[in-house]
């Protein structure tokens, strides 16, 4: 059974209350908006990408899980190369959807606090929304579209 308490631990509550890199960047090289169709929440991700990710910011209305995930994502990603960031995105998605345990994700670090979300299918989307949006921002360069294809974001979770 899920230990829900582990999800709402201090580090997540702290990032929710005082999100890091919150806001927008005036001239981002990459930008995307992510929507969570389950609850109508949305966030924006702005990046300045040179050889490395020189700057990153996010903004939006969302639950604590989503906001903390976005906040911790920005601190983890800043200064990384795009390739390193893409690797971390894949590890985070695999951990949050329960495909990999956090032990099997070598780069995951402090983001392991989100491992518990994989036991809460209706909350997985909250945790991965920022990562999905970051992925979309990167790919906008090549595809000019952030409409995702094979992403767990699009797993059908009804809201009748």
């Amino acid at each position: 059974m899920a230990n829900y308490k582990s999800l709402y631990q201090e580090v997540i509550l702290d990032h929710n209350k005082k999100p890091r890199n919150y806001g927008t960047i005036e001239h981002p090289s990459h930008h995307a908006v992510g929507h969570n169709p389950l609850c109508g929440d949305h966030i924006t991700v702005d990046i300045v990408l040179g050889e490395r990710i020189d700057n990153i910011a996010f903004e939006g209305e969302s639950c604590a899980i989503c906001k903390a995930s976005a906040s911790m994502m920005t601190t983890a990603i800043k200064g990384k190369t795009r390739a390193e960031a893409e690797t971390l995105i894949q590890e985070f998605l695999a951990m949050a959807t329960g495909k990999l345990s956090h032990d099997a994700c070598p780069n995951i670090g402090r983001l392991a606090v989100f491992a518990g979300v994989s036991d809460l299918p209706t909350r997985v989307k909250c945790a991965i929304l920022p990562w999905h949006t970051l992925h979309g921002a990167f790919n906008a360069v090549a595809t000019t579209s952030t409409e995702a294809e094979e992403d767990p974001m699009h797993a059908p979770i009804g809201d009748a």
Partner: protein, 419 residues
Amino acid sequence: MSVIQTALKIRSPSAFDVERIRADFPILKLTVNDKPLVYLDNAASSQMPQQVIDRLVRYQTTQHANINRAVHHLSEVATSEFEEARRKLQRFINANEEREVIFTSGTTDAINLVMHGYGRKFIGAGDEIILTTLEHHSNIVPWQMLAEEKGAKIRVVPINDAGELLIDEYEKLFNERTKFVGVMHVSNALGTINPVKEMIAFAHARGVPVLVDGAQAAPHMKVDVQDLDCDFYAFSGHKLCGPTGIGILYGRAALLENMQPFKGGGDMILSVAFEKTIYNTIPHKFEAGTPPIAAAIGLGAAVDYLSEIGMDAIAAHELALLEYATEQINSMPGVRIIGTAEHKAAVLSFAVDGVHPHDIGTLLNQEGIAVRTGHHCAQPVMQRLHVPATSRASFAFYNSMDEVDALIAGIHTVQKIFT
């Protein structure tokens, strides 16, 4: 024990014994996250008493066959039990005739039946359909599909900040192009009880038929379709202590007879030839294919169960729960009730300052408390009231005052975690 709880016991010493009722519901004995289950998501789906479960078992064990077909024993038994269920539903809503009661798969299916059967035949280009801001998506989207197909127009009755329909504005929407009104009896998102009887009388004075979405009303109050004088009344079995996959469309016989069938197939015909098919009489004209027989019979048992307790007693107990919960929440700093209509059913939507509804839902679940969070399939209401989503506790007659206390304690815990 609270003051109201004490008052309730004094007021009705023997009329409503919630503990005895709870004993009928095996699922209420569950624990969730090592806490006793507190099930407050009844507006989404209610739970099933042992009497209904037993009826389903008895049907599947000793009575099942396809209906309206064979002359053998089991088919005759199943057909007769199925039609008996229809009569139970007829009595439950006081329909004039049993052929006015159509089995559907649920409220959504029932509304779609009216859209296809009535709307596509009688509503045309430039005609207007009146709906309300409060409607569930299931009473919006079918009419949008019709409007798009026919070039008809949808007019929307606005609400005030309390979540009440503005009846003056409703009356102003009528003109010579008005052809149909769709209105929910009770709001699933806010609990508002709409003055549907008065709205129907106003529409009828202008020759306009009215469909009432009763999904949230039928489980909680006495519904009398003849007294309401509605033309259509739709509701679902699974919100009424019955199974999923079954619902009811009540329709006035004269209207049903003039409507085109929604689905074609077996049972809905008298004769089929490639040259011409003759449709069956109502209600069978609208019941193509093998219906959910077990579910219909289960729903019949569910309305027997509810009728034995009494819909008036159910409504009174639920009102006491609502009043107590409202009083408790109103006394909590940082918690706001969304939907404060004067006439409300036992639905309590609320917002907690600084805490997103999804976090509230997850943390209450940790305490064993089931509430609904989100837009409740009523996005226009959320937009109008400027909230992205709410948390919603919705009560049934088997909920107790202790469970209200558990909810209040749960909200305190949420607030403590987020401060």
